[in-house]
């Protein structure tokens, strides 16, 4: 029992790395989702094709495999080794960016056609159309699925334990051989931490959703049953 404070503080040490990986991963995901999502909607087919290939490859292969590949194979091919945290953020971003691209694409397409037509009638350029009319409306639609995606990403940070990035799961595994009797405390602490982080993310996203909906002058829509469409879990 007296090991518990040590266990908890030890695992908390991993919180920084988990948070860094998660935030970095989320940032990269957002960027890639926007770029690839809009590219999927481009009228030019080479742009669409490139985005489609990216999305299918990263959605179609396992994240763990991608992690191993980036960390163990890439150095052999290009000559330099990626720092674990960086490799982790890269994989998290590339993988979830592919799913995010579909979310962006779906949300933009869900904006009623009349909005496009109104923007064209006002003689806005394509960029202005997208930035000032379409995206703000699509934004609110995107938030609930992105909430789910970011929580998936958070859960995936645990995979970085395979490449020693110093995050929560790895800290736990380092303690197991030493504190065998207190295994329940080790995993319990880890699980509670992840749960709290997930709640943090959801709270943030819901606040964002309310703010965005207010700017559009409407109450946030009840979450459509995207679950039926099979989403990202």
């Amino acid at each position: 029992m007296s090991n518990v404070p040590h266990i908890v503080s030890s695992i908390l040490d991993g919180l920084v790395a988990t948070a860094e990986a998660a935030l970095g991963g989320i940032a990269l995901t957002v960027v890639l989702s926007l770029i690839a999502g809009l590219a999927l909607l481009s009228p030019r087919w080479p742009v669409r094709a490139i985005a489609r290939v990216y999305v299918e490859i990263f959605r179609g292969t396992s994240e763990v495999v991608q992690l191993f590949w980036l960390f163990f194979v890439l150095p052999v091919l290009v000559g330099f080794q990626l720092v674990p945290l960086f490799a982790g953020i890269l994989v998290l971003g590339l993988n979830h960016g592919a799913y995010g691209a579909e979310i962006v694409r779906g949300a933009v397409r869900s904006v009623p056609k009349e909005q496009y037509e109104g923007a064209v009638a006002l003689n806005l350029s394509p960029v202005q159309r997208m930035v000032r009319v379409i995206l703000p409306q699509a934004f609110v639609e995107m938030l609930p699925p992105f909430n789910n995606l970011f929580i998936q990403l958070l859960k995936s940070t645990a995979l970085l334990s395979f490449i020693s990035a110093g995050e929560i799961a790895e800290r736990g595994e380092l303690l197991v051989p030493v504190f065998g009797a207190d295994i329940g405390w080790i995993y319990g602490t880890e699980l509670v931490l992840y749960l709290l982080l997930a709640i943090l993310i959801t709270t943030g996203m819901r606040a964002l959703e309310r703010a965005a909906a207010r700017r559009l002058g409407r109450r946030p829509s009840a979450r459509a049953d995207r679950v039926l469409a099979g989403g990202t879990g």
Binding site: I57, G60, S62, V65, L77, K155, L159, S161, L195, G230
Partner: protein
């Protein structure tokens, strides 16, 4: 380029053995997950507040925490406390099943709620026994609707199985790691492992998308 075709070819038999294990894990995990998921969904609707809440808590907890940690809990924590030992493979199936049952429970819930209220009312009006209302009217309408979503989750499960290498399950990735350790060539086995995933998951996704479209 640093690619050795011979090394690639040599690694294939072992990788395929691993792929078989991966597929087995996915199939069994899905079975466990989708049956347990239905149980959870029905318990949520049981009308007994304590039970309903407990199930909800369980679902949220399992859904929001990493599968990897849940695998460790099942493999390292459960045996010493309960004396019940499971092989790595079985642990994997149980972990995948329980984790995905929480996703499936949500899917079933949405499917059940999509059955028009009039169907329930007609069943009550005809005085059908409660069990028949579920088995003859509601579930036959709810389940076909959610099959595409369940299909997508199976594909997700398929792609998550490699993390089981952490407890020694001999799936594709673990076999690739073996080959890499023995031959000191990592490029071919790991790349091929990725390709194998693509070769299975892409057609599967297309199939599910076609199923989705046919229902729409």
């Amino acid at each position: 380029m640093n690619w050795d075709w011979q090394a690639a070819a040599d690694s294939i038999p072992l990788l395929l053995k691993g792929l078989l294990v991966t597929v087995e894990l996915t199939v069994l995990g899905s079975l466990v997950g989708y049956v347990l998921g239905l149980v959870l969904a029905l318990l949520r609707r049981s009308g007994i507040p304590v039970l309903s809440q407990a199930v909800w808590l369980f679902i949220e907890f399992v859904r929001s925490t990493p599968l990897l940690i849940q695998v460790f809990v099942l493999y390292y924590l459960v045996p010493p406390t309960t004396g019940f030992k499971m092989s790595a493979f079985v642990t994997g199936v149980v972990a995948l099943g329980v984790h995905y049952s929480t996703y499936a429970a949500e899917v079933y819930r949405a499917g059940i709620e999509a059955v028009p209220k009039g169907q329930w009312e007609a069943a009550v009006a005809l005085n059908l026994p409660r069990s028949r209302v579920w088995t003859a009217v509601v579930l036959p309408q709810a389940i076909p609707r959610v099959l595409p979503a369940l299909g997508n989750y199976t594909i997700s499960m398929f792609k998550e199985t490699p993390l089981l290498l952490a407890i020694g399950v001999l799936d594709v990735l673990n076999r690739a790691k073996e080959v890499g350790a023995e031959t000191f060539r990592v490029v071919e086995p790991y790349t091929l492992a990725g390709v194998l995933f693509l070769l299975v998951s892409l057609p599967a996704s297309l199939l599910v998308r076609r199923l989705e479209r046919r229902r729409a």
